[in-house]
């Protein structure tokens, strides 16, 4: 049903989006925690910095990534020399660019649920002998799981369509970084590419619709659980 190029683009999009979420979550949880719980100088500036990808043109994000993570960049160079890892112009790089773009969305979702966690529960755990990491893992994390899930779903859905940052940082390499939107863009640049473009658009549309339905389904489940505190899944 799908041509090899189409299915390549589809799978690549799914894989890049999934990997971007995996990149995102640990950092997003940490940053959300810092922004809700920690008191430090420059917190407001840090908050603004985290939200930058929301307001910057994606091309700018891609360009900055290229400067930092390119093979000659300070971080990219180090990664290349020490571990032999190359990010620019690879699918991992595409996932990184996607992750940076959706990062604020994930932080926001997690932060909201962190703000709703009753700190008294953590105090109670502390009097019962739980240390800081133990408290976070056994109490806080399960309680913010709905927020993490919501953030992950949103980031995944948004990641399927990331264009500007990916094409700038990871370029448009078939089978490596040519995700659905990039394939669609390429098709539009090619003579006689109209039919392909239309097919890719339909694939994107179906994917987006499916994503929204899953997200809606999940958030309804979460609302149900919040009305009635979480009752399964984290039982020991």
């Amino acid at each position: 049903m799908l041509s090899p190029a189409e299915s390549d683009a589809l799978w690549l999009s799914l894989s890049v989006a999934a990997r971007s979420v995996a990149f995102n979550l640990p950092f997003a949880i940490l940053v959300a925690w810092l922004l809700t719980r920690a008191r430090f100088a420059g917190r407001t500036l840090f908050d603004a910095f985290v939200h930058l990808p929301l307001v910057l043109p994606p091309v700018v994000v891609g360009y900055l990534l290229l400067v930092l993570f390119g093979v000659r960049g300070p971080i990219g160079g180090w990664l290349h020399e020490t571990f032999g890892i190359r990010l620019a112009f690879t699918s991992t790089g595409a996932a990184l660019a996607t992750a940076v773009m959706s990062f604020p969305l994930v932080v926001r979702a997690i932060r909201i649920s962190l703000e709703n966690v009753d700190r008294g529960l953590e105090d109670a755990a502390r009097t019962l002998g739980a240390g800081p990491i133990d408290r976070f893992v056994s109490i806080t994390l399960p309680l913010i799981a709905p927020g993490i899930l919501a953030g992950a779903v949103t980031a995944f859905a948004a990641g399927l369509g990331e264009f500007g940052a990916v094409i700038t940082f990871a370029s448009n390499i078939p089978g490596e970084t040519r995700t659905l939107p990039l394939a669609l863009y390429t098709a539009l640049q090619t003579p006689d590419g109209d039919a392909l473009a239309a097919r890719l658009a339909i694939i994107s549309l179906s994917l987006g619709l499916a994503g929204l339905l899953v997200s809606e389904f999940l958030s309804r489940g979460i609302a149900r659980r919040l009305g009635r505190p979480l009752n399964h899944g984290w039982e020991r």
């Binding site: 009097t127 002998g129 056994s138 505190p229």
Partner: protein
């Protein structure tokens, strides 16, 4: 022995509290809302850091500002029960109960056994439930069990009944009494309801605006004028300790109080049982001659030790009834003048037995 000396400034509020509590036994911290009770509990538990002071239980120093010592709350082994229970909503009742126990060292002694706590607090039918299925009273019982199973050296109960209505409080109070009598764990009980204090504690620390206003046996604190300001004039009454000497077939108990014997209705009286009775000042009648042919059951010889102005046109009379027991009587200024009451005068205090109903509390033998 628990020794607490703590200082903490928070904005306008300045808490400066020193008291000690015998262990085991129940010490009540009593005061109005906002007098610093909950802050004090957080400081003792280590959830808040004091500005200076000491927290010592037995030989264990948990906080000492002079030695720059502050043991983290999680190592203090203080079982805290909060007003809002704070059960973990994502865990079942059983997992809540086991939370603290699982975090004990493998070699740690476990004098409080799971099954004992379950039967003591009547948790058998609750174990398999989700926390959101519990009533307010049940939540507090689970919170108590959770604190006990962490094998605490001290129980801090921070208004555990305050969020419950009267009927639900009755669901929990008997369990607290059982707990007090069955376990050798010292308890600090924070409350702004004096009837709870009467029912559970024998010692009271009266807290007012961040300071200890009075501190001692409940009998001594009950006649302290600072308590009167807090409980309100209608609840003023001396608390006297008594010993059940005889119980007749109708259930009326003869209770030795000071040099006198009071007739008291008791639901479950056993000879030898120690009780404490709150005799409301407005229920005490003063006579200067021994009255005859009255329905009143209790006529107690007494000596006036002080007469002080009270609310409105009344005076509050302190009556010594022997063996350091004291009663309070509120009468009008005019009655006092007509009877020519003065300090040192011998009188009779009249107390209707029925007025003592609901004001009699059993005291643990410990």
């Amino acid at each position: 022995m628990l020794r607490v000396a703590l200082r903490k400034r928070r904005g306008d509020f300045d808490l400066d509290v020193t008291f000690s509590a015998p262990t085991p036994g129940v010490t009540a911290i009593f005061g109005r809302s906002g007098c610093g009770k909950s802050t004090l509990i957080s400081l003792i538990a280590g959830l808040l850091t004091p500005d200076s002071g000491q927290v010592v239980v037995g030989d264990d120093h948990w906080y000492d500002s002079e030695r720059s010592l502050s043991v983290d709350a999680r190592h203090r082994r203080m079982g805290v029960v909060f007003q809002d229970a704070r059960l973990f909503p994502h865990l079942s009742v059983r997992s809540n109960l086991e939370y603290g126990a699982r975090r004990l060292a493998k070699s740690a002694a476990r004098p409080v056994a799971f099954d004992d706590v379950v039967s003591l607090l009547g948790l058998g039918t609750l174990i398999g439930r989700r926390t959101y299925e519990l009533s307010g009273g049940e939540r507090q019982r689970v919170a108590l069990g959770r604190a006990l199973l962490a094998q605490p050296r001290l129980l801090l109960l921070d208004e555990p009944l305050a969020s419950l209505d009267l009927a639900r409080r009755e669901d929990v109070l008997p369990y607290l009494e059982k707990l007090r009598d069955a376990l050798a764990i010292p308890i600090i009980y924070v409350s702004h309801q004096f009837d709870e204090v009467l029912r559970l504690a024998t010692r009271v620390v009266l807290l007012d605006d961040g300071r200890v206003a009075a501190d001692g046996d409940i009998a001594a604190v009950s006649i302290d004028s600072k308590l009167r300001a807090i409980v309100g004039p209608d609840s003023v009454g001396a608390v006297v300790g008594g010993l059940v000497e005889r119980v007749d077939l109708s259930g009326l108990a003869m209770v030795r109080v000071g040099d006198a014997t009071l007739n008291v209705e008791l639901d479950e009286a056993a000879v030898g049982q120690r009780i404490q009775i709150q005799v409301l000042a407005r229920d005490v009648i003063v006579a200067t001659e021994a009255p005859r042919r009255l329905s009143v059951r209790n006529v107690v010889p007494a000596r006036v030790t002080s007469i002080r102005p009270d609310v409105g046109r009344s005076v509050l009379i302190e009556l010594d009834i022997g063996r350091t027991s004291t009663l309070l009587a509120r009468i009008t200024e005019r009655a006092s003048a007509e009877l020519a009451l003065e300090t040192g005068k011998q009188v009779w205090a009249l107390i209707k037995s029925v007025s003592l109903r609901g004001h009699v509390f059993t005291v643990t033998g410990r």
